[in-house]
Symmetry: C2
Subunit: 198 residues, 2 copies
Amino acid sequence: VTRDTYHHGDLRNALLEAAVELLGEHGAESFTLREAARRVGVNHRAVYRHFEDKTALLAAVAEQGYRELVAQMRAAQAKAAPELERELHALALAYVKFALAQPAHFRVMTGPRLNEDGRFPELERAVQDGYALMVALIERAKTEGNYQGRIEHGVVALWSAVYGIAMLTLQRRVPIELRDVDKFTRRVIAPTIRGLLG
Amino acid sequence: VTRDTYHHGDLRNALLEAAVELLGEHGAESFTLREAARRVGVNHRAVYRHFEDKTALLAAVAEQGYRELVAQMRAAQAKAAPELERELHALALAYVKFALAQPAHFRVMTGPRLNEDGRFPELERAVQDGYALMVALIERAKTEGNYQGRIEHGVVALWSAVYGIAMLTLQRRVPIELRDVDKFTRRVIAPTIRGLLG
DNA sequence: ACCTGAACACCGTTCAAGT
DNA sequence: ACCTGAACACCGTTCAAGT
């Protein structure tokens, strides 16, 4: 990280990196725009060249996180294809692993209500891309498997399960080691997936 | 709400009420101790008589919320007893209903990490009381039902499901009306409960 | 184009008094 | 015992310049 000058849009990325660092250290509540600027070595006013306000900076972090999450879910699913049950497990595992590997990103993604007024359509689209992956799997559960309910209900069941596991694990409400995430997630999610496939 | 004097511990409750009000209006991120004091009509320093700091005030709100949540889960479960599947559904429904009826409480309960250093044992105990209700049900799923997995895994599956449904619904990621919560929750949770009972 | 500096209205928290 | 008032070090954001 250079600390003297920033050109060619470098500052934007430097600020994003600094933000992720700070969020990892202290959590979103105490994150300040001024400290992010300080860490990069610029005046705090320089931030406004690249982000409309503090919320926009956090939204950019969240968007970046969703893109990475979706990429990892896609990759995991592709590896497990073409068997539906394996793909469901792979998607779930990728989600939980992301949350534990990038907790700062994950907390910003799921924590503060950044996009309440629809200010950040790009963020919304990144979220929807993830949603679409689950919808596609549940649709296959209906045709290939034995799922009888409505698509929407199945998606929420799956989404809730992975989201809940990730959050409860992050909050240390569940006493597991990082190396056991695989087995743990697999076993917790099993009843839900079994229920979905009939 | 009287605005001139506070005696006999009234101020504490008045501050809690004001905090819940404010949290409902703007969310936890922009909640300020000073505005809570203003709303009650006292100097902001008066807050420190009853709460060690801002976090302690939020922790008190969270604790109050957990007590109410547990009471409502208990009541719903008792009404549905003694059939296990009905009790599981009742518990799940009570949880989701609480989240939607008291979103300000729910967001503080699940949002900021208030008790990271174990500062608030009372809050922790209230959370554990809720956890205990689920543990008892999963234990019965093992003896009365056909659940084969470990207690811990089943509890996380159930907890994740209700938590996820509540959060996704609150975030309006799921397009349901308040009057349909009953039916919606029942259908989303069904695969998980079916999976748990074997 | 990109960054700075001073200023404004806020915040949580501390100190020292007031009744 | 309970509340206040002034002060401190911070914050996000605006305005007006600087190169």
